[in-house]
Point group: C2
Chain length 398, copies 2
């Protein structure tokens, strides 16, 4: 059994970012930049007014003659002479030879004569050209996931197209004689398959495209035949068939097609039987069949794997810190991942309360959990009040 | 000018959840439940083994005769008599009359004879039927946003279809003579439109469908004509045209079509000129034209509005707490929203460092910000180390 961190590192070491495609800005939200974004213009393009008011020369004593108006998008064509002023608005280009703006609240216009209640100050209420960015500057790095604000920045930089990683394609293969798709007939002692579509949703949450394969019965031949039909897949995820019992069919079925095992069995709970390897150049991540184990392992191993495949600079879920609201007992040799509720204390700090029931068969409790409390191997008992590392599950549609 | 919280409350008070549609489980990720999900089966369906091992009667002394095997999905047909045992695997139904499982690591099978190294304990390694959920139980409430774990739970509950709110349709109308779409010709003093597509992305991040309207020139007639063509829209968002200057065209243009103003001008920075009202039954949210103001107001007002329209139980972004890494000065009468970087101290607590430059024209800094530090009106100076409310921007593809 290998430690969680080693397994994560060995998975990431084998994965390379997928190829690049060009998408329009309108479709780029949530995608990962394959190249940096460089500004194609200077913003603001010149000195502009920060307020609605009057552009004039700060050295003048006034009163001023209003010689024109420059609404945003309609710059004043001439220049501003002594004791002359031009009406400007937020974002208006400052007319030539003006060097100050008096805001309208501090000015009185009577016909074309302007007087001010406060003497103009040089450069007041003027935003310098290029204050946000200049043409050619690197605004976003490759590997950035494009959120709404980044989309705005790319637009302002005048880039209608962006080069992004294509969405990795993740095939999901659930195995087991006992499982049936929701709504399909379920045999005696059977259960409804929940892993395939939960992992498909997890795959979507990471920005990849899931391909849900038909359920494979517990037969090495069926699993091998499924492998023969894979095409255009960046990662094959299996669930079930990897236990320590007699039903270790994934290795047998894929082994018949040349599967090369990297490792299996991780010192963790829930989810010991996890395998990783490669099948004819396609990485294979074998998750446990137990739904809670499959999803916890999905968070720990599949999310970072997809982040790597899609070229993200920072992949996976960050480890944060919370305070234990209740004591937890000492841990054994396997890293534990306690399903927990989160609250905030009066100072706003996160409080984690692990559920009393931590049995890995309880999918309902996993769905209610807001965090995983990470308990390293051989962690000593921890009283209430102990700070503990957590992975939050309450965002990102996990 | 009204306070931020009052504006938020008045917006939410006018919005009602949109209608319902049925989607397949495979398409339900990220959607909002319109009805509760009830379990259609009991999970596990009966007592099952929690481990790979042997099912037997705890009162027996052994050795035992192995009379069969019950892989998951293939229950043992008979019952278990005295000194008899059946091979079981994780998830196997416990055969009739067996009441304990001995795990395989504690047992030795020689031919069909089983001996154990540890005496069986009654109910050991048996998961009771219904331990996760029972048929008819309410598993998820209406208003739940379906993440990956919830999708797994819905599947396990044997529900192939779910009733969800349809995605709200949010029309986005950018106005201004000075703006051009990315890649289109930009006039002198013009700028590239960033608000429409940034707000469209923000709309997507909240699970709604954006409809980006053509840019409206600064003309009340054009804006009125746009309003005439709206159809099937749950919320109209405008940007620009709402300033205190001469260019307050949204009210004029929409007013010609019966726009009823609820409020405008909010005591906040960035983003004072925000309007809200109703146009022929469609709510209208008028955001500032300044890109930073538009996006900050989008986070504060548009995200909760979409959450309400889509029937979410908990809408908008939570306010969390961070510690100031640097001092900030006293605030004036407008609530401020300082763009800030987040780090973690050695104990894992969040540290917020507001950027030195807070000018609302700096879209690049907004894109780099990881949080908004909330400064209430008239907040006194705050030294480094002060806990402050923040809204995190570093998740959810904002």
């Amino acid at each position: 059994m290998i430690p969680v961190a080693e397994a994560q590192a060995r998975i990431l070491a084998k994965l390379r970012p997928v190829g690049t495609e060009t998408v329009s800005l309108a479709e780029a939200w949530g995608r990962v930049l394959a190249d940096p974004v460089l500004a194609r213009r200077t913003q603001p393009p010149g000195d502009v007014s920060a307020m609605d008011g009057y552009a004039l020369r700060a050295a003048d004593a006034g009163p001023w003659t209003v010689i024109g108006s420059a609404p945003a998008g309609h710059p004043f064509a001439g220049s501003v002479g002594p004791d002359q002023t031009v009406r400007v608005f937020t974002g208006s280009l400052i007319p030539e030879d003006a060097d100050a703006v008096v805001i309208q609240e501090d000015a009185d216009q009577d016909g074309d004569v302007l007087t001010v209640r406060e003497a103009p100050r040089l450069r007041a209420h003027i935003r310098p050209g290029g204050g946000d960015f200049r043409e050619g500057e690197r605004l976003l790095e490759a590997g950035t996931v494009l959120g709404a604000r980044a989309i705005g920045l790319v637009a302002a930089a005048n880039c209608p197209w962006v080069a992004v990683r294509r969405r990795p394609r993740v095939a999901i293969l659930a195995t087991g004689d006992e499982i049936a798709l929701p709504g399909d007939p379920v045999g005696p002692g059977g259960i409804v398959s929940s892993n395939a579509h939960a992992l498909a949703a997890l795959t979507r949450s990471a920005g990849a495209t899931p391909v849900v394969l038909p359920i494979a019965r517990d037969s090495a031949e069926v699993i091998a035949a499924t492998a023969d039909q894979l095409g255009g897949i960046d990662l094959l995820v299996t669930t079930g068939g990897a236990s320590v019992g007699e039903h270790d069919l994934i290795q047998e079925g894929l082994g018949a097609r040349g599967f090369a095992l990297d490792f299996w069995q991780i010192a963790m709970r829930p989810g010991k039987p996890l395998l990783f390897g490669e099948l004819a150049g396609t990485p294979v991540l074998g998750l446990p069949g137990n739904p809670v184990s499959a999803l916890v392992c999905g968070v720990l191993f599949l999310l970072p794997a997809i982040a790597r495949l899609s070229g993200q600079r920072n992949g996976g879920l960050p480890v944060e810190t919370a305070t234990l609201a209740v004591p937890v007992k000492a841990n054994d040799h396997r890293a534990d991942h306690l399903r927990a509720r989160l609250e905030r204390d009066s100072a706003g700090a996160l409080l984690a309360t692990p559920f009393e029931r931590q049995d890995s068969s309880l999918l309902r409790l996993l769905a209610e959990a807001q965090a995983l409390v990470l308990r390293p191997p051989h962690a000593p008992p921890a009283p209430a009040g102990t700070p503990v590392p957590i992975i939050r599950l309450d965002g990102g549609l996990l």
